[in-house]
């Protein structure tokens, strides 16, 4: 076991997968000699060369489009989008091509690729370096959408993503890159794409979260535990396909559900979680489903007080848990 940061775990996963499989390569902006603007690919250019760690032109559409082409040929591209805020130019290639290729060709062609993108706010990034666009992808059959919340999962899930025969969108909570540390075992392991994880067992309220908000949810759960509220925290991890079973089983236990994410409330991923619960746990619910999310404004503002206003945090989560527990 070694303690490492989230971003170290991500780097290690890529390094190991590149060593394991010569078809794996990285493509994106500044991923080469610079090692990525967040330093996720540091050292890989020196180790694997310019052919396998490619500094692309500044154009996300073709980072993904060229990646798809290479994947069709049998390669395993890991496409880095520098910030998830800049993924939209590639939206057509992701939605129209990567996601639909297998189905539309009746399985003749598949697109084994990973698209990595740092997401999330609270880092002084303003409207365009703070976005959480997961709900724009976690509604698209053919894609898998994964968001890790800790180094162990990050490494294991990214390795699974690289080996997955489908396009996997891998959003990384950038605020946690260096903040979130954790034990990661030496040697080979993977974490399967699909199942959510109960990261803390509890009986009074279920909290569903992922990424940075899961990290905060655990803190909030700890805090209210001292007040006698027993919180079950579920790390959704794989957002799409949805692990409805784990979600419903947790609500069956607690009868109360709080969903937390940074993205705007309306139409966010929490809507699907809430809908799932409303449909599948109707008779188990002891209180209305509650969502604690980013407010419905176009982005996280830059100015500090406004950013704080926007972002969910352990305090806001604790209050929401308390309210729900009281219901």
């Amino acid at each position: 076991m070694t303690e490492m940061t989230l971003i170290e775990a991500i780097r290690q996963a890529m390094d190991e997968e590149m060593a394991r499989d010569p078809n794996v390569f990285i493509v994106g902006e500044d991923v080469g000699i610079r090692g990525g603007v967040f330093r996720a690919t540091v050292g890989l250019f020196d180790k694997y060369g310019a052919d396998r760690v490619i500094d692309s032109p500044l154009a996300e559409l073709s980072i993904v489009g060229v990646g798809i082409g290479a994947a069709l040929y049998g390669m395993k591209p890991i496409c880095e989008i520098q910030f998830s805020d800049f993924i939209y130019p590639a939206y057509n290639q992701i939605i129209s091509e990567a996601a639909k290729m297998c189905y539309r060709s009746n399985g003749e062609w598949t697109v084994p690729m990973v698209i990595r993108a740092p997401y999330g706010g609270g880092i002084g990034g303003g409207l365009y370096h703070s976005q959480s666009p997961e709900a724009m992808f976690a509604q698209v059959p053919g894609l898998k959408v994964v968001i890790p919340s800790n180094p162990y999962d990050a490494k294991g899930l990214l390795k699974s993503a690289v080996r997955d025969p489908n396009p996997v969108i891998f959003f990384e909570p950038k605020k946690g890159y260096r903040l979130i540390k954790g034990e990661v075992p030496e040697g080979e392991f993977t974490v399967p794409i699909g199942p959510a994880r109960i990261s803390r067992a509890g009986t009074d309220v279920s909290v569903f979260a992922y990424g940075m908000m899961h990290y905060y949810a655990l803190q909030a759960a700890e805090k209210v535990a001292a007040e006698g509220i027993s919180v079950e925290v579920v790390d959704l991890r794989t957002l799409y396909p949805v692990d409805r079973e784990t979600i419903l089983a947790s609500v069956q236990r607690t009868g109360k559900a709080l969903i937390v994410h940074e993205a705007n409330l309306t139409g966010g991923y929490g809507a699907e979680v809430a809908a799932t619960i409303a449909e599948g746990a109707f008779t188990d619910l002891d209180a209305p489903v509650r969502r604690l999310c980013g407010p419905d404004v176009p982005g996280v503002p830059f100015s500090h007080p406004l950013q704080d206003w926007f972002m969910p945090n352990p305090e806001k989560i604790s209050s929401a848990i308390r309210e729900l527990a009281r219901y």
Binding site: P57, S62, G65, G69, A70, Y73, S96, C102, Y103, G107
Partner: protein
């Protein structure tokens, strides 16, 4: 690289077969037996010329919807085409999921494409990148309409190929219209091949009604690509003799005189009379070919008419590569 007499005759045969098949599709549409057809009539010469310049079965193609003649050269059969027109079971491009003329033929390295125009260009660049990485002696041909070169996607693909000196041939089938929109509303240059100069690669314009000329320039571009000297843009000029598709009425935007004039220069007629004049084809041989084509088309229609529709259950898969069925 010089074409043999047999090859030149074979090329005419491919043009003819594609043409008769295409004409039958229009008949089936008028008879109400199919719901939709999008035609390659007038574009066969360029497609056949390009196909013969490839190492078919080894080289790769990312085609577009007018490429019936190209696909026929790659081994797509009349039966397969009519299955696709009717959305019948066993259709190899998509198992009836896609509209007709949305090609895919894994066995011929012809990649599945979608309706959103220009997405295939990036795939071609990515395939070529993979070929270069794997040091393969292959090239990719990608085709597109002149209107679709207005898409930023095409620009990005060509730019990638130019920066990385990739073995791709970007063939623009300039049929002078994008549905109703003439070339001068798409671009301020005289040929889409002129766009190449802005991206640092070679651009050539060729008479797209002459299969042998197209063969020549594409063969030269393929040779160049194979020897590591990078991509080429080739515009083949031709005319879309039919309306855009069976949903279109081209009388609303172009004169009958204009269409008539181009029908006089129909590549099928021109090539046939050339081959006759050169003594390569006798009128009897021509008649023989017509009869053979008619027979194959009849057979295809009969075969597809009797073929079953997909089972409803087939709609449910394969969303993910894990669900691909191998039968």
């Amino acid at each position: 690289m010089e074409l043999t007499k047999e090859q030149r005759i074979e090329m005419y045969w491919m043009m003819l077969l594609a043409r008769r098949l295409d004409e039958r599709a229009w008949v089936l549409h008028r008879q109400g037996k199919i719901a939709f057809h999008i035609s390659g009539i007038g574009q066969e010469a360029a497609q056949v010329g390009a196909a013969f310049a490839l190492n078919r079965g080894e080289d790769w193609v990312t085609p577009y919807y007018r490429d019936l003649a190209l696909m026929i050269c790659l081994g797509y059969t009349p039966r397969e085409f009519v299955l696709s027109l009717m959305g019948k079971q066993g259709e190899p491009s998509s198992g009836g999921r896609q509209m007709p003329s949305h090609w895919s033929l894994r066995r011929a390295n012809a990649v599945s494409h979608s309706a959103p125009v220009a997405t295939q260009a990036c795939h071609a660049a990515g395939i070529a990148l993979a070929m270069k990485m794997q040091k393969k002696d292959q090239v990719v041909l990608t085709t597109i309409g002149e209107g679709s070169t207005s898409q930023g996607e095409w620009y990005e693909a060509v730019n990638w190929a130019a920066v990385h000196q990739l073995p791709v041939i970007f063939l623009v089938e300039n049929n002078q219209y994008a549905i109703s929109v003439p070339q001068e509303k798409q671009m301020a240059v005289r040929s889409s091949a002129d766009k190449a100069c802005g991206l640092g690669l070679e651009g050539l314009t060729v008479d797209g009604t002459d299969p042998y000329k197209v063969y020549e320039v594409v063969a030269r571009a393929a040779e160049k690509a194979r020897s590591g000297n990078g991509p080429t843009v080739i515009e083949a000029r031709m005319y879309r003799i039919t309306p855009h598709s069976s949903d279109d009425d081209d009388r609303t935007y172009r004169s009958r005189e204009e269409v008539e004039e181009h029908k006089q220069r129909d590549p099928i007629l021109v090539v046939r009379s050339r081959l006759e004049q050169e003594g390569l084809l006798t009128p009897e041989q021509v008649e023989g070919m017509e009869a053979r084509a008619r027979e194959m088309v009849d057979d295809a229609v009969q075969f597809a008419t009797q073929a079953p529709y997909p089972n409803v259950e087939e709609g449910t898969y394969p969303v993910y590569a894990e669900e691909v069925r191998h039968d």
